[in-house]
Amino acid sequence: MIKKIKALIFFQIKVALDNKMDLVYSFFMPLAYLLVNTMSNSHRQISSANQLSDLLPFVGYMVVTGVLNGWVMNTLISRERNFLKTFTSIVGNKLYIFAANFVVNLFSNLLQVLAIVAIYQGITHSINSLVILILLTTAVVMDIIVSLASTIILISRMKLSSIPMILTTYIIVGLALSGLQTNNFLLHILLNMVSMYTLTIDVGSLIYHQGNVSMATVMPVLLPIIVIAIVGLILVKKVPVSSIHVRG
């Protein structure tokens, strides 16, 4: 199994290297935004807390955009082109293909996050390995959670042509929701269940403040993660490899 997944990962890397357009959305757009915002403050050192406050929304955006435009779109397109069926048959198990796709997407996202953080810390002369570690850990956790959450898209009967519009809407609405603050315990859980940006910021904050947390701060992060993980793991086995809309 490991040998097959390893072979698939190398294969998917070759495919991913040919598909550089995704980087425009997941890397260059946040980079441009970051450069505009940090250039004016480039003269002063920034504390760990402020760095996380600046960078966690970028990590959220990069993970969500990377997963939706990466593994979700790749899976949908290959399924509608009838390729996923052939590929699954050759490999013998669709979960190997999903796993390889996920690993390649994860490393691509981590490299982009690392590059953004390095550029930010370089410009602001605030090299801080703890911040890098927290952001990369957050990116790993959120990549897993966003990938599992997006299995809902993969089993739904949405037309392929509608998917980019839905993904763009989610990205925009999610960004708007990320500014929402609430002290209501249930609303906070609900918000983290639907907004992966808010959840990213909360996961990063939780890792940073791990020595000083209460049930009220842990549960709104932990509960959505557990629910999404369970639902995602059930749904991923049910993702069809044949086109939902076209016969044969």
Partner: protein, 220 residues
């Protein structure tokens, strides 16, 4: 492997009523019929990739023991033939790149991107590579489409030679040249039913003088 009195649907649409047929492990199995009779749907259900094989499909291997090549011979266009062969080799546990009987159409295109090959070249390479992966059952949907007569002949020889190694092959086709009647099993679907199921020799006798008209109708 057989199907017993099964109503076969595509979504809500009934394609075959109470269809029964066998897949003969000792012969090349052909599923024939006009467009839209349900040949691809049958292959889909046999492949069981989406766990939707009806209970009336009896004795077919599990999805992981089947290779299924769909109509479009779709593969990833961005990678080279060499990379594609390496991947198939990893899945098969054999070195396909240095295979002793590598067909010329593959060896001369090793560095070519898959997307830059013709439809026929792509199809031949994928089918050849698929046959090198050890499985119990091989399903090919229209394997001869877009192939020139030389490669149709090559592929036909390959299919018959693979039968000797214990592989069971089922394919849909509109191509009836170069078939060996006593080594071929035909399932003919027409008018929402299995019209004939048996050896090609029997099929020819069954239709008698009308055989050429029947084949012409299916081939068109």
């Amino acid at each position: 492997m057989k199907v017993e009195k099964c109503d076969i649907y595509a979504g809500e649409r009934l394609l075959i009523r109470q269809g029964s047929f066998v897949v003969d492990s000792n012969r090349l199995n052909l599923l024939i019929g006009n467009n839209g009779v349900g040949k691809t749907v049958i292959l889909d259900k046999i492949s069981n990739l989406d766990r939707n094989r009806p209970a009336e499909f009896i004795g077919f291997p599990d999805a992981k023991d089947i290779i299924y090549q769909t109509q479009g011979a779709s593969f990833i266009d961005e990678v080279t033939v060499l990379t594609t062969l390496k991947l198939f080799g990893e899945m098969a546990g054999v070195d396909l790149v240095n295979h002793l009987n590598l067909p010329e159409i593959i060896s001369k295109n090793m560095e070519a991107r898959f997307g830059n090959l013709s439809g026929g070249e792509r199809r031949f390479i994928i089918i050849w590579a698929s046959l090198q992966v050890p499985r119990k059952l091989y399903l090919f949907d229209e394997p001869f489409a877009n192939l020139d007569p030389y490669h149709v002949s090559q592929l036909m020889k390959l299919f018959y030679s693979e039968l000797a190694t214990g592989k069971t092959i089922l394919l849909t086709t509109h191509q009836f040249e170069e078939l060996i009647p006593d080594r071929t099993h035909i399932t003919h679907i027409a008018h929402q039913k299995v019209d004939f199921d048996g050896t090609m020799t029997d099929f020819m006798m069954h239709h008698g003088d009308d055989l050429q008209n029947v084949l012409k109708e299916i081939a068109s």
